[in-house]
Assembly symmetry: D2
Homo-oligomer: 232 residues x 4
């Protein structure tokens, strides 16, 4: 029989997060070819607090963001998190940015050989005792025979060593090509992508989702490596 008193204790409020979300912001990110790429990001910034928070401090989040003039690279990412943690006297700080990243495309699409391809990218960083960063890219899948949009591969990774966004995207595209040779199923592409990322020493953790856009509903498969957090 359930102990209500104990449940009451269970339901005590224990976690507080406050911050700003969906700030649209012009940013620059690292580009292997052009050194810097200009794009537009959506930014979320929030902190874990042990105690009630003074709303009057909300503006500090964006003051910190502006101080870095929208330049996002691994170093700035860490510095922003540190400043959030200090300035807001927080247990943990979180910074999430989401932006389209553009690359010259090799595939011959409607845009001929001169086109650019858009990749949705996300960087989710947090700083508590240690720093954690997850990078995510969404790579459209268009199979030679598919004459349309077959689907998407969404890959999230943690790094042991720095990887360019371009390197991560090209790893994903390799895995897709390899998987498609076996069979164009979410299972086969997902398994192959898992094997490809597993064999990449710079990557300490990954999660893969492959989605096939079909009539009325999408089918999907995911794999994830079982590593614990990797700090750097």
């Amino acid at each position: 029989m359930k102990d209500i008193q104990n449940l009451q204790d269970d339901r005590r409020i224990s976690i507080r997060k406050v911050g700003v979300k969906t700030i649209s912001y012009p940013v620059t990110v690292l580009d292997r070819e052009k050194k810097l790429q200009h794009t537009v990001a959506t930014v979320n910034m929030y902190v874990n607090l042990p105690h009630r928070f003074k709303g009057t401090h909300m503006s500090r989040f964006v003051e910190i963001l502006n101080k870095f003039h929208g330049e996002f690279n691994l170093r700035n990412f860490y510095l922003i998190l540190q400043e959030m943690k200090e300035k807001l006297d927080a247990e943990a700080a979180h910074l999430e940015i989401h932006f389209p990243y553009f690359m010259e495309r090799s595939a011959v699409g409607c845009s001929g050989n001169f086109g650019t391809e858009r990749y949705e990218c996300r960087m989710h960083g947090s700083l508590q005792e240690c720093n954690d960063l997850v990078m995510e890219v969404e790579v459209p899948i268009t199979l030679p025979q598919s004459m349309g949009r077959w689907g998407y591969a969404r890959v999230s990774v943690r790094f042991k060593e720095f990887l360019w966004i371009e390197e991560l995207i090209s790893l994903v595209q390799q895995g897709i090509r390899a998987g498609a040779e076996l069979s164009a199923s979410v299972e086969s592409l997902c398994g192959q992508l898992g094997d490809t990322l597993k064999a990449t020493s710079a990557i300490s953790w990954f999660r893969v989702e492959v989605e096939n856009l079909a009539d009325g509903c999408s089918t999907f498969a995911t794999v994830e490596s079982s590593t614990s957090f990797q700090y750097f």
Copy 2:
């Protein structure tokens, strides 16, 4: 110094999920006034598998869904999860539905006294050894003096006893009114909502997010109760 061999082990592929997502589907849900409410849901169904999955079984997900003719209530939710787990020989089954729920509104808006208000609702159920269900509602916040859309309260709960969607929404609206009397800030509304849900014995766990739509970016606060999973 890190043991690479060990990291290789860490990176072994350990989790597999497969399923269908974003199926748009006409459904009926329980309505305290009208017994049943017709609405349109977006449905995700997926399972955890210990082994490689035969893609040819994908159609089983929707066959199971169709068997229940889009009738969603707590009992059917559990039966669908059970059938998914069995038919697909899975470690765990997951069913997520997301639908707009309509209620007569009391507030005098542009729609006069006769209008209906739309509330985004989500039910996320999973069945492993035990059954777990999280219900979520999004309640728009319009303060008397705000002359516009002030923001949203997003409340997720686990139940100890059955609650109507109407009861959960009205609990949230009580908390908003109470919090707004103190001060119209995300912290004050969030804290008050937390206290309101904490005092509701039918609720074993909750998470609250209050968002204020402001210029250029939104501010938000969240609280969560610290209970462990409640099974029923």
Copy 3:
């Protein structure tokens, strides 16, 4: 040399529209199989006014909408427009509804033979001296060999005689099949759809857009018949 005085005249304010938009509303629409289908619509209602408008009358729009209990058929559509025109003493009344319509699917997708397909539908009616109604359906295109979502056909029509939504959708699917046999290009599908609709005596006017979802961008083609408005 330009006559500024005359331009000033040109720039006099001459058109006023007021109304309510993006009302989410549970509705019923005609279904050939089930007589009625329950779905959720987004509704826009507005009127043209010769003079300044009293904002206090905004609630009348939704009062009129509620009076018809969300039952939408050709007759009610006309009655709602008439009541808007009278009650708001307007030169013209406009009613736009947009809803997903669900049909049993024949195609074997991930949902097997038992699935339902979702079609976006729009009805745009206006009443000035005469009544005008445009019906629009969006039909997903999935070619046998495409293994994904090839694209969409968006077809808008005016009627000379009543057509069920099911009949319009199946006309579009016929046109797609016929066009795909020639070549799977936006031009070939668009041309074939135009010929199919042109040969349908119940249709007095049509516009067709065929879109192919390709890498990075979509290609599209449109055709439109040159008829003037058809009143009924």
Copy 4:
């Protein structure tokens, strides 16, 4: 009694458009402060054709776009349209771009005094015998007393003389402030915006929509000047 033969004629296919749509593309636009602003645009390019179109030419659209390296200003806009018309041997060429434009904000929001505000901008150009360009900006409305997002003003204009995006936005903000002093209604703001734009000699045509985000539905009002097309 209707003349069917004549209706058959009416339904002859008379208009053809082909092109590419929703190309996401990094662009630069003119910025009064910083000379150039980097942003990300969504681009549609299409042409009217008197005859059947060879799909193989689709890639030309993006080849033309790439030739201008995503630099958009009034002069390039016209040159791109000219090249589309020639290269594709078209009756008319159409270029639509839609991008977020960022400006330092003066209002003290959650982002303090250092924030940036995002404005949705659209430029729709077409070239037939003459050149036509419509510029559109969406300006968020946040009234001092509204403590949230009151709504939006969407203003489309044709120019007699060049106006910076900054100038157009500040004209709209003037009109909003002036209208809000009278009363915070869609009617009052819309009327005041109309008067403000009408008094601006650089503007030859305008359309204004003011939307108030209210519970469950939005109310809106529009005004439009009655000028005929202004070519430049």
